[in-house]
Symmetry: C2
Subunit: 384 residues, 2 copies
Amino acid sequence: MFDRSLLLIPGPTLVPESVLRAMAQHPIGHRSSEFSHLMGEVTAGLKWLHQTQNDVLILTASGTGAMEAGIINFLSPGDRVLCGCNGKFGERWADLCRAFQLQVETISAPWGQPLNPDEFGARLAADTDKTIKAVIVTHSETSTGVINDLAAINRHVQAHGQALIMVDAVTSLGATPVPMDEWGLDVVVSGSQKGYMIPPGLGFVAVSERAWRAYETAKLPRFYFDLGKYRRDAAKNTTPFTPPVNLFFALRQSLQLMQQEGLPQIFARHRRTSQMMRAAAAAMNLPLLGPAECASPAVTAIAPTTVEAEAVRSLLKKQFGIAVAGGQDHLKGKIFRIGHLGFAGEREMLTVISALEAVLQQLGHPVTPGSGVAAALKVLEAAA
Amino acid sequence: MFDRSLLLIPGPTLVPESVLRAMAQHPIGHRSSEFSHLMGEVTAGLKWLHQTQNDVLILTASGTGAMEAGIINFLSPGDRVLCGCNGKFGERWADLCRAFQLQVETISAPWGQPLNPDEFGARLAADTDKTIKAVIVTHSETSTGVINDLAAINRHVQAHGQALIMVDAVTSLGATPVPMDEWGLDVVVSGSQKGYMIPPGLGFVAVSERAWRAYETAKLPRFYFDLGKYRRDAAKNTTPFTPPVNLFFALRQSLQLMQQEGLPQIFARHRRTSQMMRAAAAAMNLPLLGPAECASPAVTAIAPTTVEAEAVRSLLKKQFGIAVAGGQDHLKGKIFRIGHLGFAGEREMLTVISALEAVLQQLGHPVTPGSGVAAALKVLEAAA
């Protein structure tokens, strides 16, 4: 029945038609002047998106590969790192650091709650010997729909003066400001299948000058993910290893679309869709997993109590061809997550909210038909 | 003038229209039943292509990333490895091994000449303590158009009985037999933009049971490229990290095309196109870089003496919109390389050979118009 699902998971996200068409071009050689030109264009666009003059390097890898690159290039075995853990991805970075023999200390919060910046402040202030080499923060926790207060945590890192601040911006970049230069962020990692509006397959690592100085002495072994190689080649608009040229075509087109819309407009749109979703959930008597103060602009996690989360997901899929995400790890079956990231805008929110009303009613959940949509429209009206 | 180049470099290779169309579909979620079904289909196809019952794992990475995974999962710092070096890629694997603190011994031949299997035999026979942990061989050296005698080298490795045999099959898989199970190969690495006929972005690592036993005790740090994770998840038709779903669509389609053609037919076609190219070069008075006995079925390297290699390349591009590759490293400007890999078949060989005749004539090289094409047609006639 549904030749195409409406993909409202927090990644892969919806891809615009013109991006799909760009991607479907015949490949070009990666050692050609055409490719160099393409690489120059996308690199300029990436710097614009990161609000930075730093290098933004492009890897053939998923977000986790980019995160690994962001960590192994700047640290050495035994280095002490602070890692924020309040969801699946924060925990993944702690695991990754342990796999590379770093000395990991975690600052945790329950899944669905934000990290407390003061705990970072206290731990960093106590480090008078300056042995903490890096602080790793997942900006938007995709697994729970919580955004961490990166600006506040970063102020503590800057006050420490020695530790690098490394940011998983996978579902925050292109959804909310991540002003790398203004905030003095050292390593910012992202992946193509999120705010970039292109399919998965590219990872991005933006690197500050301070991080490049750490690179000089970092001792973890690396080859494919050796960012020094990528930096050297990027300066000549080329890559050390064969890049996925078709995803570069897609990226050029999506960056053009983003630049046409404008960063402030993109961020405002994500605020609106996030608010639409939360207002509609409240009107439909659906509890959110996390508090409104730390709501991610990219994904909303709903923790229903009167109906099974998986029943909602499967009925949305079966009846309306709408794909939303489930919970991960211990939240499996307990929540469902709706992505409002990248190309998923107001139109898609109205679609999924009205479909949710139908599905909830069928499942016997108390909902007034039209109430979710009305609440969402009120958000739109207020924003107009 | 040329909206599309005819891409006859040894990768990225030409992509069939139906593969491009498959790739341009809207992405699906990677934690969906649709994706699991897709992954099951491509995994079965990959085993068919590798002629194996072993795991064939799919990474979001270019060929070098897959090679790194193939090495770091089965070895430990200080391990003694033998690495064949007769071109850019052999040398890259030696560099990669050194980056991971392996004890690398190289067996070399000049670029353009094949590795001598007897040298492997002697080195392995002398290793009575069995301290050599792995032998690394680039099957088809893309940089020189030389195919190494993997079957003969492998016989020496099997006689040793302990060392793993690790194969870079990047431009041999899908072009010439790499019968993993029959030969007892342990690690076979490849990349999507070659014989697979899809754009770059996927790397593949096939792993024998013997290699999995080595995995248990291998001590190099790994996370993104930890193949144990991929194996565990592949058994459930899923992936540990977000896969590039659109390249999976492309891969399913290209594997179907390959299965329709049949492995023996694919290999015979590559033999034909390789012979066409070499026969035409001889008829056009163009010297080959390497001897005929070790001619790669995937790429032919021509080392012209009467004209500049770069002049040939640029005129082919300018006048006919045909892209062929140049030389790498010290062969830069000295050779040009024509890919006859994947979707580049007899039709494309006739195209590039006739265009070469025109270009050579313009550059003042002694060539009888029609002689190259006539020689190529003779090969086709003999093969019919």
